[in-house]
């Protein structure tokens, strides 16, 4: 089948304003949008820029807006998009070129919640043990690949990029509810500020956008609950 792919193009060094370029190419139903972009770049227009690495939905680098939804291009099939595809960069982050956005504000928020294990107690001889039940509490949020689909689908983030955003809260959740970690209070204090969880108005865009199907709004709710009750399990 022939597909038409309309791609957002912008080179701030040359273009006065962004525009769209339309490419036509042959595809089969099981082609992914990433395949189409690769074909365009390889055979039709080498100036097209986008990020990708693993091409298997695990590195999180090719998040973009496909037909209005934040998706990973490597996980979106032509079968699901139809023959007309519109591709845009993620909303809410500065465009560096074409589909490449500046992820730094996103990672800054990510770092602000201390997404690493904090435990100053003396190391045990073997490992820090944990029961299956204790692990299950934060299992969902360990799946995040930092693609930014969620944060850049969130109206609160669009309105104000000081909001830490769903991805950072997911990262915080992953450690707050980890029984081996000792800094839950520290992270909760950060999320208890005006740019923390209170900017979440349970819109659920993040949950719908997540390519890993993490129940993000639920995780944010659990953090709010921990703030209210002080209980972590």
């Amino acid at each position: 089948m022939e597909v038409t792919i309309k791609v957002f193009r912008y080179n701030p060094e040359k273009d006065k304003k962004p525009s769209y370029k339309t490419y036509k190419l042959e595809a089969i139903e099981t082609d992914r949008v990433l395949d189409l972009l690769e074909k365009v770049k390889g055979y039709q227009d080498g100036t097209l820029s986008f990020r990708r690495s693993c091409a298997h939905g695990i590195c999180g680098s090719d998040a973009m807006r496909i037909n209005g939804f934040n998706r990973l291009a490597c996980k979106t099939l032509v079968r699901d998009t139809g023959a007309t595809i519109i591709v845009q960069p993620l909303l809410g982050l500065r465009v560096i070129k074409d589909l490449i956005v500046d992820m730094e504000p996103f990672f800054e928020h990510y770092r602000s919640v201390k997404p690493w294990l904090i435990n100053d107690e003396p190391e045990p001889e073997k490992e820090r043990t944990q029961s299956a039940a204790q692990r299950a509490i934060f299992d969902d949020t360990t799946k995040c690949i930092l693609c930014a689909c969620c944060t850049t689908s969130c109206p609160s983030f669009w309105a104000n990029e000081q909001y830490v955003g769903p991805a950072a809260i997911v990262a915080a959740h992953r450690f707050i509810f980890d029984s081996r970690d000792k800094a839950a209070a520290e992270r909760l204090k950060i999320l208890n500020e005006v740019w923390g969880v209170y900017r979440c108005h349970t819109v659920f865009n993040c949950t719908m956008a997540c390519p890993r199907e993490i129940q993000i709004t639920k995780a944010i709710g659990e953090v709010k609950m921990a703030l209210t009750t002080g209980k972590l399990e």
């Binding site: 029961s131 104000n160 209070a185 208890n192 005006v194 209170y198 108005h201 209980k231 972590l232």
Partner: protein, 141 residues
């Protein structure tokens, strides 16, 4: 392995947290006041003497002025300190709940700290002034 449940001791009672909690509790509080209002009104013969519209009006603001134009023969039992307190609570909850919603919209869109604090202050002033006027009206009617 499980010694005692993990807790987060210093959750920190800051303004955002308290208002977030207040918004949730005030919503429940308003339901409660309305239910008390409706139940009491039915016990005080609302079923024979009042339309549903008047009953609703009373439920959300239990003020005797809302009863005088109905067929209720004697509004004495619909007056008094208890209904004043209910009316004032409803006023404070509704005003606080609604204005906190406005505050949330402002905080969503305004990132400059001083502008945000200014508007927060303004919303607080509006709440206090409106509540004061409301309480005056309730107590003098």
């Amino acid at each position: 392995m499980k010694e005692h449940p993990r807790t987060a001791p210093q959750k920190g009672f800051n303004f955002d947290y308290l208002m977030w909690l207040f918004t949730r509790l005030s919503a429940l509080g308003m339901y409660l006041i309305a239910i008390v209002g409706v139940t009491a009104a039915l016990l005080m013969s609302a079923r024979q003497n009042m339309s549903v519209a008047d009953l609703m009006r009373w439920a959300f603001m239990p003020n005797p002025n809302h009863v005088v134009n109905t067929n209720i023969p004697n509004v004495d039992t619909w007056k008094g300190i208890f209904w004043n307190v209910m009316g004032i609570l409803m006023l404070l909850f509704a005003g606080g709940h609604g204005l906190h919603g406005l505050l949330n919209v402002l905080e969503d869109y305004i990132s400059r700290t001083w502008v945000r604090n200014l508007l927060r202050g303004l919303v607080l002033v509006v709440w206090v002034v409106m509540s004061a006027i409301g309480i005056y009206v309730i107590l003098t009617s």
